[in-house]
């Protein structure tokens, strides 16, 4: 009992806190000011992003509100086949500045789809296997050289890559595959892959290197070869990071403009062939925004395309993060 009394006394004594010293007050004030500044800066960035989205969406919204625009570019005109010429079957045509504007989005979707798919088909294996080589098989000296060099590749301006695709790759690919059109989806897609490989490589390599060495040791000690270890243990363990790398690459591919503008031929053709020229969503904005009448339906359509590009990447990111969570849950048995 005595002890408890003593403890309670001790408690009341410590409760009688002396007033804060001047130094402590200054310190607390300084903390508050700094935290305030950091918060302000962070919210400026977020606010800028939100305002951009609001602005783009507002310009696109005219498409649905103004009668003239609704007539010229209704949803059915943008997404369903239209009779362009009398006596011909309905078709998807993008000719926004003709006497009768034809504003079908489908050729642009096809263009973006073709270039993106080609670039991902090239860049994902190259990037991931390159990362696997660098992380698992390359001698240490080579790895220390490889990573900065490839990261440097990410810093090449896309106009330079586009120029290379336009001047060198287009000729080589045309000669190799005997393509009818010099600038086409294949050239643009592979040119695009040049820009994406470093992105995928860097992020994938980081996630592979982050796999604990103990996994590798456990696998090797069970009599697995280095390749089996890399393929069956290290790669699955790094799956969430690799997926993130691919999503980043995809985001870059779908939005990348300059390479496609230079190397794709920019003809809005509806076809399945990779040898035909294509016109992508992003290149369309870049090519036409400079000459469009501000406030016209065409102007609004270009912003609408911008909104769609944003939505694509947004939805893809959502799907990818949901899938990543599922993978992590399966790997670790807990949702973290």
């Amino acid at each position: 009992m005595d002890r408890q009394v003593v403890m309670e006394q001790g408690l009341t004594e410590t409760l009688a806190v002396p007033r804060l010293s001047a130094a402590a007050r200054r310190r607390q004030l300084r903390e508050k000011v700094i935290a305030g500044i950091v918060t302000l800066v962070a919210f400026t960035g977020i606010a800028a992003l939100v305002l951009i989205i609001v602005f783009v969406a507002k310009e696109a919204l005219a498409l649905f509100l103004e009668p003239e625009a609704r007539h010229e570019a209704s949803l059915s005109k943008m997404f369903l086949p239209q009779v362009v010429r009398q006596g011909k079957p309905p078709a998807f045509v993008w000719q926004p500045v003709s006497n009768v504007p034809k504003v079908s989005m489908i050729p642009l979707f096809i263009g973006t789809l073709k270039t993106t798919v080609v670039s991902m088909l090239v860049a994902v294996p190259v990037g991931v296997f390159g990362a696997l080589y660098a992380a698992e098989f390359a001698p240490r000296r080579l790895r220390e050289l490889l990573k900065p060099v490839i990261e440097l590749l990410a810093g090449i301006p896309s106009v330079v890559l586009g120029f290379f695709a336009l001047m060198v790759m287009a000729t080589v690919l045309q000669d190799t595959f005997g393509l009818h059109t010099r600038l086409n989806a294949l050239v643009a897609g592979i040119g695009l892959a040049l820009a994406i490989v470093p992105v995928i490589f860097t992020v994938a390599e980081d996630s592979l290197t982050a796999v604990p060495r103990s996994y590798r040791e456990a696998s090797l000690a069970l009599g697995a070869t280095p390749w089996e270890t890399a393929w069956k243990v290290v790669l699955p363990a790094a799956a969430p990071g690799i997926l993130a790398a691919c999503v980043l690459g995809f985001g870059r591919a779908i939005g990348e403009t300059m390479i496609i503008l230079m190397a794709s031929g920019n003809a809005a053709i509806v076809s399945a062939s990779l040898g035909d020229s294509v016109r992508s969503l992003s290149a369309t904005i870049a090519a036409e925004m400079g000459e469009v009448v501000v406030g016209s339906p065409h102007y609004s359509i270009l912003f609408f395309i911008g909104v769609q590009l944003f939505l694509f990447t947004f939805v893809l990111n959502m799907l990818a993060s949901a899938w990543t969570k599922k993978v992590i849950k399966r790997l670790t048995g807990s949702a973290s």
Partner: protein
């Protein structure tokens, strides 16, 4: 300690083994025999080379750049560093359990099946049978039989370590190397591991590195004391702990330094 009817043969043996990391000598001229169907404990203070010695027995040190060695390590009288020995085959015969439990981020079943799969076993029924047998051998089956498809990372630390032992046993090695297998576990989990080691020595030859002298005394038949990269003394565990020949051994096992 039970009576040993006859002296067992050496399953593994090092002869004048010297191993360096770059220029730093980690172990110096160690000659030690690991007897068949016995538990050999390697004890000694931190940095004495006991873990390095253990890891050289299945050539895990190959993974560390800059290591080189002289001398020989024999497995059934064949030099394991000989060109004719494939390191993958060696590691299938000499398995290893690590200090920190390291299950793969896969299901419990896949963890145990991994070594069998890379060994080429494809038949599902055969795999399932071997996984069950190994998990029973690892004294883990009753705790996990209803959740074989859940991630192994959801198990407790002690269960994870027994899973790693089961995983190492699944490929049926002849020798099992254990690098402080219970150092990160609580006393109850440790007791289970030690019990397991007792049961395993009927089938396997075991070498175990431990910091815990009581553990060495409890689980091992023979004890080797390492100090500063050298093998100071090796003998029957009872003799090392009660009547060591060397002064340094006596000082260490009685806790004068360590």
């Amino acid at each position: 300690m039970s009576l040993q009817p006859h002296t067992p043969r050496a399953k593994m043996e090092s002869r004048e083994l010297t191993l360096r990391y770059g220029t730093k000598t980690a172990i110096n001229k160690v000659s030690l025999a690991i007897l068949e169907h016995r538990v050999t404990a390697l004890i000694g203070p931190s940095g004495c080379g006991k873990s390095t010695f253990l890891r050289s027995l299945n050539r895990m040190n190959d993974l560390i750049p800059g290591t080189n060695h002289t001398g020989h390590i024999l497995l059934d009288d064949t030099d394991i560093n000989d060109r004719s020995v494939d390191v993958v085959d060696l590691r299938r015969r000499v398995g290893m359990v690590f200090q920190k439990s390291n299950p793969f981020p896969k299901s419990i079943f896949e963890n145990v099946a991994y070594g069998l799969r890379v060994g080429g076993m494809k038949d599902k029924a055969e795999l399932a049978a071997r996984v069950e047998k190994s998990l029973r051998g690892g004294a883990l089956w009753d705790e996990v039989k209803d959740r074989l498809n859940e991630s192994a990372l959801g198990l407790s630390g002690g269960q994870q370590q027994r899973l790693c032992i089961a995983r190492a046993m699944a490929v049926e090695p002849e020798v099992l190397l254990m690098d402080e297998p219970a150092s990160a576990l609580d006393p109850i989990a440790t007791a289970k591991i030690e019990e397991l080691i007792h049961e395993l020595k009927a089938q396997y030859t075991i070498a175990i590195v431990t910091h815990n002298m009581q553990q060495a005394a409890r689980v091992s038949d023979r004890t080797a004391f390492f100090y500063m990269g050298e093998l100071v003394e090796c003998g029957a565990t009872e003799q090392i702990f009660t009547n060591p020949r060397e002064k340094r051994t006596e000082d260490y096992v009685t806790g004068k330094f360590g």
